[in-house]
Symmetry: C2
């Protein structure tokens, strides 16, 4: 199992769409989530900051939700990019997805000071829409499960 | 409609459970979401920071999810506190809830630089469990809908 993500889809998002607080490489204040392939699964690894607490010792659920969210859009982008014949380590710009819906089930309190690993399976539900099933582990412990429906960002987005 | 929340349930959470990155009054780095009654509805008002962006001009979905999450646990705490005969402006410590599940539907891009208002309806589904139905508005525009199942924090939580 990967210990870090070497080739992340976020490295090849177009500059204009790389400002996301969760995963944008250009957002100086953000989390800089990085999502890549690990075989046929997708993976994002992140160690929450000390302030990302729910109660002392345990991770804030909103951070887990954020991780699942960006892992979902990143996984959808990875899948469509691969379908288009590309991998994150070639020069092509990746497609950018937006979240249509997000579901998180919190199964166990998530311990702090442990790297979290989001592992995703991507399901195509429409040529421009993917469902990403994600499990979030702290070490070997499955702490949360999530589901994101990610839709290809419309060209009109934000206009 | 309230422009700010005067008496927030987070003001009367026990100190040990006031460190949440989303809504803990003692977390110096956090969002300090504050949730109160507005008639029979619950309300949380928050203006995202400039870095909380998805793409420039629009709010990060993970921030919306975080708002809905803490608004949900806060609303459940308000409801049980009222059932126990208390309001946030009396001296009693409020009960503390944890999120069992969180669902968010992103309906429209959420514009930045506008106060967001989460408005909730609380449904008791078990004496220790509440479902909170939330709508998030930016000005008059309904941008997201959410549902949180919040469970009374077990005494063993985090032990």
């Amino acid at each position: 199992m990967a210990k870090q993500v070497e080739n992340a889809i976020q490295d090849v998002y177009p500059d204009d769409f790389s400002w996301c607080y969760g995963c944008g490489r250009l957002n100086k204040e953000g989390h800089h989530f990085r999502t890549g392939w690990d075989g046929d699964q997708t993976v994002t690894i992140y160690t929450p900051r000390p302030e990302h607490t729910a109660v002392p010792g345990f991770v804030y659920g909103g951070l887990t939700a954020s991780l699942i969210d960006c892992h979902g859009t990143g996984s959808a982008a990875l899948a469509l990019h691969r379908k288009n014949g590309h991998e994150p380590d070639d020069d092509a710009e990746a497609p950018r997805f937006v979240t249509a819906s997000l579901e998180v089930k919190f199964l166990k309190p998530t311990p702090q000071d442990v790297p979290l690993k989001a592992i995703g399976e991507v399901e195509e539900i429409h040529p421009k829409k993917f469902k990403v099933h994600t499990e979030v582990y702290a070490g070997d412990v499955l702490c949360s499960k999530g589901e994101v429906v990610a839709a290809l960002m419309p060209e009109s987005f934000g206009k």
